[in-house]
């Protein structure tokens, strides 16, 4: 049983293949254009492993927060795969994805940077989200950083994705990206 994970929330595009819920293969590529590479890299990983896309039994998408365009494309491609192959679709947030790779003795915050500020998730030492995600501009973040233990960069442990219970069951009509940050017209 194979499953496919799509992560386009940052400028590093990750395509992960799982077999029986265990890490099997991956392709990571730093790119300014997820749009150009997303589908070709899915094709590459399948071809390299000699697997057909219709052997997938589920698709997981990192649905944000992060690059608006990135997560929108990730969600669009993932839900199209789910619709066409009639397989389950699940989501995991980018902040949860980082948090499940972190081991800490105390509470901590995870931050994901964008050009104007940071998306924040606050976690207990057991990795449980404490409240809703929020967005801070650069100045707000500087103050926040002095009062909280903030982790920005971490190696993602892809194997932990199936070990955690952070995967949210979605359906291909209703899955939405997590944008978090308000756009001008919403303010």
């Amino acid at each position: 049983m194979y499953s496919l994970l799509i992560d386009t929330h940052s400028n590093i595009l990750n395509i992960i293949l799982y077999k029986d819920k265990k890490f099997y293969a991956s392709i990571s590529r730093e790119t300014p254009s997820q749009s150009k590479l997303l589908v070709p890299l899915i094709q590459n990983i399948m071809d390299e492993q000699n697997i057909q896309i219709n052997e997938m039994s589920e698709v997981i998408v990192v649905n944000g927060p992060g690059s608006f365009t990135g997560v929108r494309l990730g969600v669009t491609v993932a839900k199209t795969i789910s619709y066409c192959l009639n397989i389950d679709i699940k989501s995991i947030s980018s902040l949860d994805l980082l948090a499940l790779s972190i081991e800490k003795e105390t509470n901590y915050s995870v931050a994901i940077k964008d050009p104007k500020g940071y998306y924040i998730g606050e976690y207990s030492k057991d990795g449980i989200l404490q409240n809703e995600y929020f967005y801070l501009n650069k100045d707000e973040f500087l103050t926040y950083e002095t009062k909280n233990e903030v982790i920005q960069d971490t190696q993602i442990s892809w194997n932990n994705v199936y070990k955690c219970n952070l995967l949210k069951i979605e359906d291909y009509y209703n899955i939405k990206p997590l944008y978090i940050k308000k756009i001008e017209v919403e303010k």
């Binding site: 254009s33 749009s35 150009k36 590479l37 997303l38 589908v39 070709p40 899915i42 094709q43 896309i53 219709n54 608006f68 365009t69 929108r72 494309l73 969600v75 669009t76 491609v77 839900k79 199209t80 795969i81 619709y83 066409c84 192959l85 291909y172 009509y173 939405k176 990206p177 944008y179 756009i183 017209v185």
Partner: protein, 335 residues
């Protein structure tokens, strides 16, 4: 004749549209989800909102289209998509959606220029007869082209500043008419008389257009009338504006018909829905025994059927796109 079915996708602006078109002419199903009511709240299309709505609606629109035609994606011969020009974020949703379908079902991917789509919309109800002149009039474009055969374009002239549709929308804003202003200006113009004096376009001998001067004249006129405490007769001003705006089009078309011997004038783009434009162009073309072709309203405005119509030529000539194709917000018709 064999039946070639193309699944076509259009998301270049604020319409999520998917169609199934047979042999480039026969529309088996067309579903268009318009976002007009959402963007009306903001007084114009908000690109980020448009992109979000495309991403939310696209599988729903696909499902509805397949159900209407009682067909499956497996039944298609190719997947076609608009890759530009248009709003980048919106185009990206359609392009990646199309790429995913092409990959999963191992179908050829056809990348269609949105403007060529508007021209080939005329192949759905009519047949393009070459050589022809084509006039693209929309919110983003005002172009006059000569076509000797399929996909062979020679640009004669284009707008140097605003597009004609843009000038309608800007004048609508000046007159306080809600978005989308263009069609409402046309309605108002019908009830008015041409009583405001606006500068007529100059015949500079080229095929280029210019609309920012006309828009400024309307703005100045409105300010002047306000200063003098006189109320603007919206209907009359809309009528005077429309008359000048369209006379510029007719002037250039007339000039082109003198130079080029063509069978048809093919009108394309959202503004081709304008009834007054149609009447005036027919008058000009009658003098040259040239037929004027304008699609019905559903094929005038942004729709995926026209993309399927334009994609048929690409399919026949095996001009396939690779899966690493990207969207292009700026795209020339002659590229």
């Amino acid at each position: 004749m064999s039946s070639i079915k193309i699944l076509a996708i259009e998301t270049s602006c604020d319409e999520t549209s998917i169609a199934i078109v047979e042999n480039g002419t026969n529309v088996l199903a067309l579903t268009t989800n318009t976002q007009i009511s959402t963007h009306a709240k903001y007084g114009g299309v908000v690109p980020e909102v448009a992109s979000r709505m495309h991403a939310e609606n696209i599988t729903i629109v696909l499902n509805e289209t397949l159900e209407k035609a009682d067909l499956k994606i497996e039944d298609m011969d190719a997947i076609a998509v608009t890759y530009g020009p248009g709003l980048l974020g919106s185009l990206l949703v359609g392009v990646n959606f199309a790429k995913t379908l092409a990959y999963i079902y191992k179908k050829p991917l056809l990348a269609v220029n949105h403007l060529i789509g508007h021209i080939y919309a005329n192949n759905i109800e009519n047949k393009l007869e070459f050589p022809l002149l084509t006039l693209i009039v929309s919110g983003g474009h005002t172009e006059l082209l000569y076509m000797s055969e399929d996909y062979n374009f020679k640009l004669l002239g284009e707008t140097l500043d605003d597009a004609i549709g843009e000038s309608y929308d800007k004048v609508a804003k000046v007159l306080g008419v809600p978005y989308p202003g263009g069609p409402i200006i046309e309605k108002l113009a019908k009830q008015g008389i041409d009583s405001y004096k606006l500068p007529l376009p100059v015949n500079d001998g080229t095929y280029n257009f210019s609309y920012s001067g006309l828009k400024s004249s309307v703005l100045n006129l409105v300010n002047k009338e306000k200063m003098h405490g006189r109320e603007i007769r919206k209907e009359d001003l809309a009528c005077s504006f429309q008359k000048v705006a369209i006379s510029e089009i007719c002037l250039k078309v007339n000039q082109a018909l003198q130079e080029y011997n063509v069978k048809q004038l093919v009108v394309a783009g959202g503004v081709s829905a304008n009834q007054y434009l149609k009447e005036e162009l027919v008058k000009v073309c009658q003098q040259y025994n040239t037929e004027v072709t304008i699609p019905s309203l559903i094929y005038c405005t942004d729709n995926a059927a026209m993309i399927g119509a334009a994609a048929y030529y690409l399919y026949q000539n095996k001009i396939y796109a690779n899966l690493d194709i990207d969207a292009c917000s700026y795209l020339n018709i002659c590229e």
